[in-house]
Symmetry: C2
Subunit: 314 residues, 2 copies
């Protein structure tokens, strides 16, 4: 276990977004759907923000078809946005692949001295949100990305916006979720996209707080692959000190049926001895709520609610 | 890093197989193609061995469609075979999914006192071969499994048989492989199926010897997923002390082209600063050679050969 994994239990929360704030648009991952970026920019302007496009936001494929520009270019964008005092937050425009490659070349020098600013994304961006926690000690926000479908849905977007702009009133309710293991637990929100969580196990950017309320979610993975990933987390000790687990909806299952996926989730999460809620609408699957990372919270697995013991942003 | 990872550099090699030897047939993974087991048994008998079927060899799905019986049943079979003095070796009948789940419930008590016996398998069985190295300090053999196609091909089977029965004459030649980075390196053979290697990073059964000559191979993974897995190994330090890398053929690429996969392999393995050979016929893809694990060897990346500095079995 690295020092990073041990050190970053209490994260520093960034300030909320306010009218007039400049926010950086960039990607750590794949080329984005550029047609959608303009619409996302309109939405942000309606909210009173001033979007600032960085080069990677509309970068096309270069090294590989699935990477926006080079790793160095994406890392440079991120570093510039984090260092720029005029930028209040970073909204990623899309996911795909490549955040963990970018982390390999990321220069963190001097970033420890920067005050936290909110960074938003999910899916492949999970890799970056973990790194912000492990390398900088920052909390962050797992929520819709500017060029992705959820950003165009009022339900998903307004959940994000409430978290970013009115964080003292933020909480999650999962009326359609299922209580796998009943109980109430307090801890620190963590986790994210399952593929990305497994892909950082054993690296310097993994982040697993003791007493975590851990989200695991994914899409486009069948039941056996999901089993392999959850087994990896189990065997690596990821759940060893967890307080509770929230599982997402797991959609687009390939050749697996919903029953098979449910059996895998129940099998791999049902014997942990901590409260577990499954089929929660966070992450992929559309119609999602935003999941702050690194914030003290209470999960009530019976009521299927998450209440925050401190605002996700300050 | 666990004690296991540090400790097991010099592995104990098992005895070669000899006429009359009893060999256990079992699986740590998915239900096997039972129609093919009988033919595999005939082949083993032609070689003078006495195959002994354990319960898991023909076990059907129980907990999940992709698991042969329960984890506990498969672990019990393996433990019984390793403890049985009348059994000279273990030949797995098939792969799929489940070896790492089985390792979660495996009881290793007392197995340290057992003399090494050869264990053969590949694909999902990579998880078990790593565990034999990290938990018991045994070398092993990555080669065809009794119910899989390669066991029915004379080329692949005779390569395995030469390794098992005439190990002092064993070596590998890859005339159709490609030299990515030239050079000659000596080290200890390691690695295996890429998905399984990444799936044990950060667990107690991972095994990465310093100075490893590391095999990475897979099938049914597209270029982006292969990138993610190689990036995970890079970021976890897997290649940090490696002497050389051998990459397999990587077949059944989904939506990726062969050129795209080649670009990923070249990108992720081409800057390691050590000799690298790619497109070697080991692992998946048919027409394969057997790859002993944990044996001192010399890779000549220009000649595309692996010569062993000690017989893989004694």
């Amino acid at each position: 276990m690295t020092d990073h994994l041990k050190a970053r239990t209490e994260l520093r929360r960034p300030p909320r977004l306010r009218p007039g704030d400049r926010v950086a648009l960039l990607t750590p991952s794949s080329p984005s759907n550029v047609e959608r970026i303009d619409e996302g920019i309109d939405v942000l302007r309606f909210c009173g923000l001033e979007p600032v496009e960085f080069q990677s936001a509309r970068a096309r494929a270069s090294v590989h078809p699935y990477l926006a520009g080079t790793d160095e270019e994406r890392a440079k964008d991120l570093r510039a946005a984090l260092l720029d005092d005029s930028i209040a937050g970073v909204l990623t425009v899309g996911g795909g692949y490549g955040s963990q490659r970018m982390l390999e070349v990321m220069d963190w020098t001097g970033l420890d001295a920067v005050s936290p600013k909110v960074v938003v994304g999910y899916s492949d961006v999970t890799g970056l949100l973990e790194a912000l926690a492990s390398r900088l000690g920052w909390s962050s926000v797992m929520g819709p990305m500017v060029s992705e479908g959820e950003f165009r849905e009022s339900y998903s977007f307004s959940s994000l916006w409430r978290c970013l702009a009115s964080p003292e009133r933020y909480g999650l309710e999962f009326p359609d979720a299922r209580t796998l293991t009943a109980g109430i637990a307090e801890g620190v929100t963590a986790g994210g996209n399952l593929s990305l969580l497994t892909g950082s196990v054993g690296t310097s950017t993994a982040w697993t707080p003791p007493g975590g309320i851990i989200l695991v979610e994914d899409e486009n993975e069948d039941a056996p692959r999901t089993d392999v990933m959850l087994t990896h987390l189990r065997r690596s000790g990821y759940f060893a000190n967890a307080a509770a687990v929230v599982a997402g909806k797991f959609t687009n299952l390939g050749e697996s049926s919903e029953d098979e996926m449910r059996a895998v989730i129940d099998d791999r999460l049902g014997d942990l001895g901590i409260p577990v809620v499954t089929h929660a609408n966070v992450g992929h699957g559309g119609h999602v709520q935003t999941w702050p990372i690194g914030v003290r919270a209470r999960l009530d697995a019976d009521a299927r609610t998450v209440t925050f013991l401190e605002p996700p942003l300050v």
